[in-house]
């Protein structure tokens, strides 16, 4: 190979930007995908670090992380999986915190329920189905079950329940008119892409265990400043405004 060829290859290599801006990979629970995308853009602008986002259900992300998935940060939709990751050592101890708190909304688009008292419908569903997320697998489902039990409605509505695999499918059951009513996420109820609701009622936070969404730094990023920086950014005012604009409460 000629001297000039070697020299030009050398120059080319120099021209490749140094890998200081190696993007960080953030694993995000599906329900938080849209705010996460917006937060990532804000963080990229303010810090110059690129962010890559992967979405799946919290349970799937958890299993992927335990099996060595190359993620730097987890934004879960519950506090159980981050806690388990911290215990097993796959998450960095002491980095776990609540970045958002979810809420439940009873929601319907059934014209027959227009201007009716939404909660009262639960006592007499008739032929209607009530969609909730699967309490076994989805935090919003567990919260829905707690609410129905604490309101002493569980036994009444149980024969009419259908279970979404996650909160997004639960919403789809209601929006597609297959379920007359659904207990969906407050963040979903604020989404402008939804059709007009005919009745809606916010479930008081006191009627179920808090829907804490926790974040944690993952083991392979324990020395990664860009990843740690993203977590501090999540606690800052700018990020908190974005999170609450998407219908989540912010922890004190």
């Amino acid at each position: 190979m000629s001297q000039t060829a070697i020299a030009s290859i050398f120059l080319l290599v120099l021209a490749i930007p140094t890998s200081k801006a190696e993007p960080i990979t953030v694993a995000v629970a599906s329900n938080f995908a849209r705010p996460a995308q917006e937060l990532a853009t804000l963080y990229e602008k303010s810090s110059g670090n690129a962010v890559r986002i992967t979405t799946a259900s919290t349970g799937k992300l958890y299993a992927q992380i335990e099996n060595g998935a190359p993620f730097d940060v987890l934004l879960a939709a519950d506090e159980q999986r981050p806690r388990l990751l911290e215990l097993s050592g796959s998450g960095v101890a002491g980095t776990r915190f609540t970045y958002a708190v979810g809420s439940l909304v009873l929601w319907s688009r059934d014209p027959a329920l227009a201007s009716s008292d939404c909660v009262a419908q639960l006592r007499d569903l008739g032929k209607r189905r009530l969609a909730i997320a699967n309490p076994l697998t989805a935090p919003y489902g567990a919260a829905a079950m707690e609410f129905l039990q604490s309101a002493e409605l569980w036994d009444t509505v149980e024969p009419r329940l259908v279970y979404g695999e996650n909160i997004a499918q639960t919403l789809h059951f209601v929006v597609s008119n297959n379920a007359g009513l659904g207990l969906i996420a407050g963040s979903q109820a604020m989404d402008r892409r939804l059709p007009e609701s005919t009745c809606r009622w916010s479930v008081p936070a006191s009627m179920h265990k808090a829907l804490e969404h926790q974040a944690i730094l993952l083991r392979r990023a324990s020395e990664n400043e860009a990843a740690a920086g993203f977590l501090s950014f999540l606690r800052a005012d700018g990020a908190r405004q974005v999170i609450s604009a998407y219908g989540y409460r912010i922890p004190e």
Partner: protein, 224 residues
Amino acid sequence: MNASTLFEPLWLSVQLAGLTTVILMFLATPIAWWLAQSSSRWKPVVQTTVAMPIVLPPTVLGFYLLIVLGPGGAIGSWWVELTGSALTFSFAGLVVASCIYSLPFAVQPLVVAFESLGQHSLEAAWTLGASRMDAFFSVALPLSVRGYLSAVVLSFAHTLGEFGVVLMVGGNIPGETRVISIAIYDQVESLNYSSAHQLSAVLLIVAFIALFAMFFINRRWKQR
């Protein structure tokens, strides 16, 4: 894990697969017969339509079935008038969905069987004065037993292994639409790996036995 959470979903899956298979044999026979005999220019259209569920992801089928089978859908609203409740989130709805989903697995082996009959035996029967129906039942059907065996086993096994469509239109109701594949999924998602193992092993064994029986009997037939 107690016996009812293990056997209820399994039994439900077996019922669903069994009923779907029976219905499909009645449904697939005329379709396959027509496909084997016809030279109509519509044949490719029918062939394509029947084969679609092989290619389409279950999510596409499920998405459309939620619309069609729902209380406001074409089939769903008719069913509501008939029975008072919608087809989605019901066992009957799963049967309809499974019939669509497994249709190609019933039709394809039958088409092959009917095509290999040859016109001669049928024409012989017609010459001897048998009606078309008569010829079908006394000549074509007995000669196509192997095709029916394949169709039965494949429809049954494919319905047993159904997941995506049921996930989308079933609503995961215990004893009604929570079939074994959904139960396994729930157990994995809630980190109950030992229960997932038990259910998966059962399904693995059932699937192996069903397919093995088909290949084994098929070989026996060939040797005769």
